[in-house]
């Protein structure tokens, strides 16, 4: 900087600049004996501020009883900002200790080497308390790279009045995707409203839907997992969705809008139904009460296996953490059966700990409660908890899964939006890209791919 000299106006400006610059730089107090753990959660604020804060405080006081001073700093990150923020923070060597991932992006950070194995830090009985189906997505190459937190299964949320306009009832469409697809085009032509939508391109659900259909785009050759995307079965599956899209059976935002478009369209009565996490019901009740009044819930739409998909949230510890042991302890605390039950009582999520599921909270509503709205939410919760018994996380436990997904999303979105493109060509491109990704990665086998039997063929299970 130049010296302001005797000029007072200039000195004033300079001082002002300096003051502000130093003000905005955050000064951190570093107390040597306090262990600070930074926890990032995914899209929980502001709705669950009280809950998360209370859990953190009780963790801190529990640790204080052990004679440890631990301070947990909680940061909530919007859903689609996590990748960017974590990449930036890691590049700045400021990655948080504990991070909440969705099963969609979790493996990306595994392949970047961002997470540590939790087995050395957690007692075996802690590890055993999680649903194996949920835990499996975090078990990659023999390491436990995260622990499951809460689960969301889906329910069908439908606008009864709009369905009625098209001559349908909720029961007519609560079945398989085949049933829903078969009615979509006619419904749209009759009412001008789309029967349903789902993320097909960006944030696609079609890959898990494909697995839920019993169609696996993988094979095993010489004991090694290889891509098998250009088979007639896969092409046939995709063909049906592409035909639906091109015929205008779903809104065009299905290709580009991701999950966010669902609730926007549903609230504006532009779609009559969506298969989604029951979380959204509260939002609709608060934001669009008149739409909520017309809403009914029904069991989730599934593939031919009749098993719905569990979306799993996990908590992992980053390799940049300076206190991996404390961080692992915090992940176990946040995901303990008690804390998960407490969380589930606040919101329509399901715990990943079977012990918590025993609670009466997950029973269907018994009486005709006065508060009809609360009853409807309770019903959706019971439905979701029920479907959990046969639900599967249709997410392969592969470190390369995000890359495979991304290759699919990019190519498939292009296919949807280009009328001159063909499924066969797209499948061949995806096959090529998947083959090279899998060939370059550590070998895996077919056990990483969820391929359950159809739900009806399995002996009914009781907890």
């Amino acid at each position: 900087m130049t010296e302001p000299g005797r000029c007072s106006r200039l000195r004033f400006v300079a001082c002002l600049a300096l003051a502000a610059l130093s003000l905005s730089t955050c000064a951190e107090d570093k107390n040597g004996r306090t262990t600070t753990i930074e926890l990032w959660t995914l899209a929980l604020s502001p709705t669950f501020d009280d809950f998360i804060t209370s859990r953190i405080r009780s963790y801190e006081s529990a640790r204080a009883e052990d004679g440890e001073t631990v301070r947990v700093e909680w940061v909530d990150v919007p859903f689609d900002a996590l990748d960017r923020k974590l990449i930036a923070a890691a590049a700045a060597n400021r990655a948080p200790d504990v991070v909440n991932f969705s099963d969609m992006t979790f493996a990306r950070f595994v392949s970047l080497g961002a997470l540590i194995d939790l087995r050395p830090y957690l007692p075996e009985e802690t590890i055993q308390q999680y649903l194996p189906g949920a835990r499996s997505i975090a078990e990659i190459d023999g390491q436990l790279l995260a622990v499951p937190w809460y689960l969301t299964t889906q329910t069908l949320i439908a606008n009864e009045r709009l369905l009625g306009d098209g001559g349908l009832e909720a029961d007519d469409i609560a079945g398989t995707w085949d049933d829903l697809r078969a009615r979509a085009v006619a419904f749209h032509e009759r009412t001008g409203v789309h029967l349903f939508s789902l993320p097909m391109g960006r944030e696609t659900v079609l890959l898990s839907a494909m697995l839920a259909e019993g169609v696996a785009p993988f094979a095993e050759r010489d004991g090694r997992l290889v891509a098998s995307f250009d088979t007639p079965k896969v092409v046939g599956f995709l063909e049906e969705w592409v035909r639906l899209f091109r015929a205008g059976g779903v809104p065009r935002e299905a290709a580009t809008g991701g999950f966010a478009h669902l609730i926007d369209l549903y609230q504006r009565r532009s779609i009559a139904a969506m298969n989604t996490s029951p979380n959204f019901l509260r939002r609709i009740r608060d934001e669009a009460p008149s739409v909520f009044d017309e809403t009914v819930v029904a069991p989730a739409v599934t593939g031919r296996l009749r098993r719905s998909h569990i979306a799993t949230m996990v908590l992992g510890v980053t390799s940049q953490s300076e206190h991996p042991e404390e961080a692992a302890r915090l992940t176990a605390w946040m995901t303990s059966p008690d804390n998960q039950l407490a969380f589930a009582r606040l919101v329509n999520i399901l715990p990943s700990t079977p012990e918590s599921l025993q609670h009466e909270h997950f029973d269907p509503p018994t009486s005709k409660a006065e508060d009809e709205a609360a009853n409807r939410i309770a019903a959706s919760r019971a439905l979701a908890a029920h479907s959990l018994r046969s639900a599967v996380a249709f997410t392969p436990a592969l470190a390369t899964w995000p890359d495979l997904r991304r290759a699919f999303e990019d190519r498939f979105t292009r296919l949807l939006l280009d009328d001159n493109d063909s499924v066969t060509r797209a499948a061949a491109d995806i096959q090529r890209s998947w083959a090279s990704t899998l060939a370059a990665a550590a070998p895996a086998d077919l056990s990483a791919i969820p391929r359950p039997l159809p739900a009806s063929l399995e002996a009914p299970t009781r907890e």
Partner: protein, 272 residues
């Protein structure tokens, strides 16, 4: 000049109306949509009015109060630094003779051709190595001066008569004093124009603060709006409301500074 023929008057009038609608139509429509409840039909401007989205925009997450303050701070300091540093740098470039001057000027102008998005990664690393990650300082500093600003100031300084400067020197003023007492006041209209452009650019900046800010309480308004757009279960109309709100300060400032924005000021930018 002779009187305007009728066809020309009509044509100009039509153009004026069309341009005005084009210029403010989209923002007005956004305001209308932001005032509707979530379930309203977007094509029906009278489908009900509510302030709910505006309230929601303030209560969702950490709200908009912090981003508003941050944006004001960032904008003020970025504009202030831009004017100060550009005016300083342009002085020797326009009025002193020294070796390498023209090379330096060309080098400065060359930075205009660098897309900021391309150098964001190393810029980010430089900021991190300076310990400025996740600070408002990091948002301001790399954009504290621009080649465009230096160019603009140089054009204005060149036009100032030498006699004024000589008179100051004869009175015993040093270079800094001459700059401050002679050059800066005479170039004030250009500096005001530069300040306005810097304010506009800083208020609008999205990518750099998005990359360099992590903590929510440090977010600027565009970053906050971007997060509202991305939030999973958010009513999208909160983002619309926040967008409309973020326009109010900048438009107010612009209209208040109207008298500075005379077309003639742009002359500095175009003649060389």
């Amino acid at each position: 000049m002779n009187r305007r023929p009728a066809w020309l008057a009509i044509w100009l009038g039509l153009c004026a109306i069309a341009l005005a609608v084009l210029a403010i139509g989209p923002a007005l429509w956004l305001l209308l949509i932001a005032l509707q409840p979530a379930e309203a039909d977007m094509n029906d401007p009278f489908a009900g009015l509510t302030l709910r989205n505006f309230i929601g925009a303030f209560s969702e997450g950490r709200g908009l109060a912090e981003p508003l303050v941050n944006s004001v701070l960032v904008t003020l300091f970025r504009a202030g630094l831009n004017v100060l540093l550009a005016a300083l740098a342009a002085y020797p470039l326009s009025r002193m003779r020294f070796r390498g001057r023209d090379t330096l000027f060309v080098l400065i102008l060359a930075t205009m051709m660098i897309p900021e998005q391309v150098i964001v990664v190393p810029m980010f690393r430089i900021v991190v190595s300076m310990g400025l990650y996740d600070t408002l300082t990091a948002v301001v500093l790399p954009f504290g001066v621009s080649a465009f600003g230096i160019y603009l100031c140089r054009q204005a300084f060149v036009a100032i008569p030498w006699e004024m400067e000589e008179a100051a020197r004869i009175d015993g003023a040093n270079a800094l004093q001459t700059w401050w007492h002679v050059i800066v006041p005479l170039a004030a209209p250009t500096l005001a124009t530069l300040a306005l452009f810097s304010v506009i650019a800083a208020w609008s900046d999205l990518l750099w603060p998005l990359v360099v800010l992590q903590s929510e309480h440090k977010h600027t308004l565009p970053v906050a709006i971007n997060e509202l757009l991305g939030r999973f279960a958010t009513n999208i109309r909160y983002a619309y409301a926040a967008s409309v709100l973020s326009l109010i300060p900048i438009i107010t400032l612009f209209i208040a500074s109207q008298r500075f924005l005379k077309a003639g000021l742009f002359a500095g930018a175009v003649k060389g």
